[in-house]
């Protein structure tokens, strides 16, 4: 069975209320074709996990502008004034998470870890509601794993078994999100035959990938 499917087929896994992870740093590494597909599909009340909301009309910014996000976990929303406005108007429920903690929580979700201890956020509002532990005289917060229903990724090169290679700074959250969702869909900027990526340089093994959509 081929993993390569149409945009429509892939996005049938995203319904109203679905929890979705989307990578990208200010839009770099974000699957634009899949995001555009979500906008067109008009699914609503999404719970979105991402590191930033980019700029209006760039990457994840499009999903903010279209009003499809009900709940948001992110580390930074400052570059997209729309997000702050909608948060203040009570339209989006935003939780801000330090970027390193967010990456590690997603990784933990994919790696079967029950949580981890980080010094980040100790003594700040981030510690509210969290268990604190002192080890060897240093304080840590217990942070819990994160998972999603669907992850939408962007591979610079993807082979037909779903092995992915990311170019330059596009990698960011892609590799972690690939491991932490029930359904993983990759937008292939370049779609290759199996064997065209050196097995040593595969960054997301194909076993994590359920569907591939050819990007534009």
């Amino acid at each position: 069975m081929s993993k390569v499917v149409s945009l429509e087929e892939a996005l049938k896994f995203v319904k109203d209320g679905t929890t979705v992870m989307i990578p990208g740093f200010m839009g770099v590494g974000t699957p634009e074709t899949l995001v555009d597909g979500l906008v067109d599909k008009k699914v609503k009340d999404l719970f979105l996990i991402c590191t930033d909301t980019a700029r209006p009309n760039v990457g994840i910014g499009k999903l903010i502008a279209s009003g499809q996000i009900k709940k948001l976990y992110a580390s930074h929303i400052g570059t997209n004034p729309e997000t702050g406005k909608m948060m203040n108007a009570g339209l989006i429920d935003v939780t801000l998470i330090p970027q390193g903690t967010l990456a590690e929580r997603i990784r933990a979700g994919g790696a079967g870890l029950g949580g981890f201890l980080t010094p980040t956020g100790v003594g700040t509002v981030v510690e509210e509601g969290k268990q604190k532990m002192a080890l060897d005289g240093k304080e840590y917060l217990l942070e819990l794993p994160l998972r999603a229903d669907v992850a939408l990724l962007r591979g610079s090169k993807v082979d037909k078994k779903g092995n992915v290679w990311y170019n330059a700074a596009t990698r960011n959250f892609n590799t972690h999100m690939a491991t932490a969702a029930d359904v993983v869909i990759v937008e292939a900027r370049e779609l290759l035959e199996v064997g065209e990526i050196d097995p040593n340089n595969v960054m997301t093994p194909g076993i994590f990938v359920d569907y591939i959509v050819k990007g534009e």
Partner: protein, 216 residues
Amino acid sequence: MDIRERIAKRVAKDLEDGDIVNLGIGMPTLVANYITEGIEVILQSENGFVRMGPAPEEGKEDPDIVNAGGVPVTVLEGAAYFDSATSFGIIRGGHVDATVLGALQVDQEGNLANWMIPGKLVPGMGGAMDLVVGAKKVILAMEHTAKGKPKILRSCTLPLTAKKEVDLIVTEMGVFEITPGGMYLREIASDTTVEKIKEVTEAEFIVDDNLITMED
């Protein structure tokens, strides 16, 4: 030389050969222009690479290579790209020798507030909380006051980025070091006096017996 350049130039003097350094967006970015000739400072960009180079020539921007502010940059020979968990492992794990950041407020205990103003500005902490906790040395590059009001306080009033992590504060008026024994004024700009600094500094500080004059 404008005060931003003066501050950046002074911060650069604190960087040593071989240091791995993360420069925050805004004024800290200028530090790269003043690194001592003949030494190698390796710049880390928390969105996923080391050995960041200067901005590309116009028209030669690569959309896959941006810095942590989303601005196109280049990488130098010997660069390496990685994912976000690795990037923040580098930061949190103490592999970054110094981070240079801006501040909304800092206090004499080394507490830093630079990520939000409740009810007004809630951009999110991005990678700042991880950087301040993880970097071996935290250097603030900041204007001494905001609209004439002190930013160097007895105790921060804004939500903290991290507790007791700041090591050095560089402003256009001088250089402060925060030590377990208190905050010291180590250097003073040639165009000011200790009295003038005291007027615009709420924090208590000790004037170094060997107070040095800062380079313009």
